[in-house]
Amino acid sequence: MRAAAVCLALWVGLALSPALHAATITLLNVSYDPTRELYDDYNKAFAAYWKAKTGDTVIVNQSHGGSGKQARSVIDGLQADVVTLALAYDIDALSTQGKLIPANWQTRLPDNSTPYTSTIVFLVRKGNPKKIHDWGDLVRPGIEVITPSPKTSGGARWNYLAAWAWALKQPGGSAATAEAFVKKLYMNVPILDAGARGATVTFVERGIGDVLLAWENEAFLAVKELGPDKFDIVAPSLSILAEPPVSIVDTVVDKRGTRRVAEEYLKYLYSPAGQEIVAKHFYRPRDPEVAARYAKQFPTLTLVTIDNTFGGWAKAQAAHFADGGSFDRIYGQ
């Protein structure tokens, strides 16, 4: 409804405006689930910026869903001008499976093509009755941990790797101790939801479990939406720097002639105005100035990266989540 009203207003505005050559451009941004609110805001800001700069009207349509499913839709022909997904592995697939973008896509924009980051934190019941403060507490007997299946959920892969990284960094930590730790942790997981939102519902609505492993921005959102009197956010001593990257889809923008505006759409995410919006939606901004302004919002914790600790997504995927990987071994295969 609102979109229709905006469209109508824009059309009326266009009809009345003296600008004769102003064009209307549409873009499709295919994204994952928790970015819905972020891009609602950002699209408005970008449309205003683009209008002021070029006089053209840009309308950005959004598609949200599980990150892997979204990538498959684009490979199968969904005409996305830009993709903003949960992990690089899913955008890699656009290159390896679909030949839609060049293999070096992640070097085309600053910071690994990741204009914002997040991390994995714990959401616990108000007052933290089970005294959960760090990863080590999750394997205590009687603690129920809620996390979706890393086989089907991009977010859950970040959870899994964060737990693994913590165990690896403990005194005497090795791949073997990390696997044993993660195995023990998953023995405390009573339900494996298929997606991140499903897991959040299980924890928040069904009241199951003592701790939810969640994206930091999702955790903040849950606390904000459902009331700070119900949940607390606990930051573990160490977690993983979750980098949800962005890219234009070359074959689509070249066919539709939208390359320039699509590139600008992503670049504007890095501008102070874009970073401000990002931070408001509880993603960690890259820009040091904006980050400093929002520093109080985000807990300080040691963050490891997928590249340094796991050698990049392709390796992590093969070692842990592919058939016969460490996650399958946990469940005795």
Partner: protein, 276 residues
């Protein structure tokens, strides 16, 4: 029954041609695409994929739970259809309409509603917990969801047959000295068998492939409460299209074999009792 005389309405060639084209477009071509895609794997790899313990466990759960749910639905669907056809009572139309709800409801909504009901803190789950029965996030939850989505198939296939069943026949049986049980088992039930089997088969087939409602209530624990369609999705998440279609092919072949068996059984029931 078999009618070999010239049919009244001509056009056999046209309609058969239409049937073949339509079936090909809607059913055969998509299915053969699935088969062909699974050939990417090669026989050896195909076998490894479909005999992996986790895949076998999920197939057992999917087919077992669907079978169990269809059995429950056959029994209770029969009772519901009987009550709706044979008795007139206030609210009958309302109940009649309610039978179709599982058809109309998006399956995900059904799954979420059932999960909310049967979790340990849900309305029903709370009552069942002291009895040591846990439904949500256990294989039993899968069966419950499948019963829910399969019910209309049995009721709706039985209703028209029951409506056409002549009550005079039952009275005749009674006057000939048949007990109530004899009337039911030797007069009514034989006439119902074919429709009951159809309803069972439909409910079963629907349940085997069900994803949306089950996924929320199953808990999805590997080897225990993971359904086969979820494993297909899992493979797709890894961009393993061939592996995903391999499982799909096994499900197709199994379903087809079972359907064929049920059809044969139906033919036998039909031939033996000659419903009409």
């Amino acid at each position: 029954m078999a009618n070999s005389r010239t049919p009244l309405i001509p056009g056999f060639g046209l309609t058969l041609g239409y049937t073949m084209v339509y079936l090909s477009l809607v059913v055969l071509i998509p299915l053969s695409a699935t088969f062909i895609r699974s050939f990417d794997l090669g026989v050896g790899h195909f076998w490894t994929v479909v005999t992996a313990p986790r895949v076998v466990a999920s197939l057992r759960l999917s087919f077992g739970a669907a079978w169990l749910a269809a059995c429950v639905n056959a029994l209770f669907g029969l009772i519901i259809a009987w009550v709706l056809v044979r008795y007139s009572f206030p609210g009958r139309r309302l109940i009649d309409a309610m039978v179709d709800l599982p058809f109309a409801l998006p399956t995900a909504v059904a799954g979420i509603a059932l999960t909310a009901l049967y979790t340990p803190n849900g309305w029903l789950g709370r009552l069942l917990l002291p009895l040591g029965i846990r439904v949500a996030f256990k294989p039993l939850g899968v069966v419950v969801a499948l019963i829910f989505i399969g019910l209309p198939f049995v009721v709706r296939t039985l209703q028209p047959v029951l409506e056409e069943l002549d009550q005079d026949v039952e009275q005749a049986a009674a006057t000939l000295g048949a007990s109530e049980w004899q009337t039911f088992s030797r007069v009514i039930l034989p006439a119902l068998w074919p429709a009951l089997l159809t309803g069972f088969a439909l409910a079963f087939a629907r349940a085997v492939g069900e994803y949306g409602s089950v996924i929320f209530i199953a808990g999805n624990m590997p080897m225990r409460s993971e359904i086969a369609p979820l494993l297909i999705i899992t493979k797709l998440e890894q961009y393993d299209y061939a592996g995903a279609t391999a499982i799909a092919v096994v499900m197709l072949v199994l379903s087809f074999a079972l359907m064929l068996g049920i059809n044969a059984l139906q033919g036998w029931a039909f031939g033996r009792h000659g419903a009409r």
